[in-house]
């Protein structure tokens, strides 16, 4: 089950509203490589993992990504809560404001709502771990893009922390993949899905 701790993993303290940044940072809330997708991906993949260490790792990282989702949502909230009318009418933000006002809605930076096609759960541990490695790199790259777009140190500080976490997650998934590979029969190195293998010859 899930328990909530009433504290962010890293503080989000943004003093200056910025609707331009809100319009792009929303991508890490509900975008293709954002935290919602990451947490859903890992929490969904864990059911078909063959080893307990993998179930533990995916549960923990999936949970941490929910915490990051909260941090990104906090950023959007703080970037938009004190906007003036003129700032709201800014072309980048007006469409979002029309549909969501100052609410935080999971969508891509382009305006597309979040959808699960942005993630994959293949039920094969090797495939899923590769998906996870790619997801962490995509998230890292997105944070780097956002850091380059930002100029407020309060915003950059949080983005920088989140980017650092993606690098650590990548490392853990690589270690998990190495663990799975070590346990495979060497002749089946790439191929089989341990969740589905059975002795079909006897049927």
């Amino acid at each position: 089950m899930f328990v909530y701790e009433k504290e962010l993993q890293y503080p989000v303290r943004i003093r200056k509203p910025d609707q331009r940044m809100a319009s792009v940072i929303i991508s890490q809330y509900g975008g293709p490589d954002g935290e919602l997708g990451a947490s859903l991906r890992y929490l969904s993949q864990r059911y078909s993992m063959p080893c307990n260490e993998l179930k533990g790792l995916l549960t923990d990282i999936g949970t941490e990504e929910l915490g990051h989702l909260e941090m990104v949502g906090s950023m959007i909230h703080q970037l938009t809560r004190d906007l003036t009318d003129c700032q709201i009418q800014d072309s980048a933000f007006a469409p979002y404001f029309t549909d969501h006002a100052l609410g935080v809605y999971p969508q891509f930076a382009s305006g597309q709502p979040y959808h699960a096609a942005a993630m994959a759960v293949k039920g094969d541990p090797i495939t899923d771990l590769h998906e996870d490695l790619a997801a962490e790199q995509k998230a890292r790259t997105t944070y780097e893009n956002l850091i380059l777009l930002a100029d407020d140190p309060d915003v950059i500080d949080v983005l920088r922390f989140l980017r650092a976490r993606e690098i650590v997650h990548y490392q853990r998934f690589a270690e998990a993949l190495a663990m799975v590979q070590d346990r495979l029969n060497e002749k089946n190195f790439y191929a089989f899905n341990p969740m589905l293998q059975c002795d079909c010859k006897n049927k």
Partner: protein, 207 residues
């Protein structure tokens, strides 16, 4: 569990064009041969059996001329050819995981600021400005270090040094965080603000 090999190999060493440019017998060219080779001679195994090679062998056979499956030359091959495992001996592509341990860990305060306990995983962007340090509580610092160690232990469950550090950090955290109680003063106070996204200025002053 089945032992049949049902996958595909990743062979980055694709057949190269035959480097011989003349109509020399293909058994003199050093590279692998393919159908586009301009030689008109059919390659032969030059280990003495003289049998023609109908098609290039695409396995790592140690016989220099890469004989066909039914080549009857009796040269010893260190790796027995096994048609059930055509990729036997080949190394498929793999993801490389740099392994690390607790040798270069930060103190808990620095770990939270940098986003990781492990110095070897601290990979800032170029020109990253040093942050002054967000205002964080000791409880937050302890929880982060513990969390980061927990992720490490998921993939290194037998690391004794990590387990010892876990015990130490857990004690520290219990001291610094205390026990959250939401029913003081005869009132349920859990929903009370500030909520985590409603920040307060550094060191407890009101926003």
């Amino acid at each position: 569990m089945r032992n049949d090999y049902i996958g595909t190999s990743i062979d980055g060493d694709a057949r190269a064009a035959c480097p011989c440019r003349s109509h020399q017998p293909c058994n003199t060219c050093q590279g692998r041969i393919n159908a586009n080779c301009g030689c008109n001679n059919r390659p032969t195994c030059n280990h003495g059996c003289g049998k023609p090679v109908d098609r290039p062998c695409d396995n790592d056979c140690t016989c220099q001329q890469r004989p066909h499956d039914d080549c009857t030359c009796n040269n010893d091959r260190p790796q027995p050819r096994d048609n059930n495992y055509p990729c036997h001996g080949r190394t498929p592509a793999m993801v490389y995981a740099q392994h690390h341990d607790l040798d270069s860990i930060y103190c808990a305060e620095k770990a939270l600021l940098r986003g990781t306990l492990f110095g070897c995983l601290d990979k800032p962007m170029c020109n990253e400005r040093c942050n002054d340090g967000a205002c964080t509580s000791q409880c937050q610092v302890d929880k982060f270090a513990l969390w980061e160690l927990r992720l490490y232990l998921n993939t290194h469950p037998n690391d004794q040094k990590a387990l010892a550090l876990l015990r130490k950090l857990t004690e520290q955290m219990e001291q610094d965080c205390g026990c959250a109680c939401y029913s003081d003063c005869n009132r349920w106070s859990w929903p009370d603000g500030p909520w985590p996204w409603e920040y307060q200025h550094c060191c407890g002053k009101e926003a």
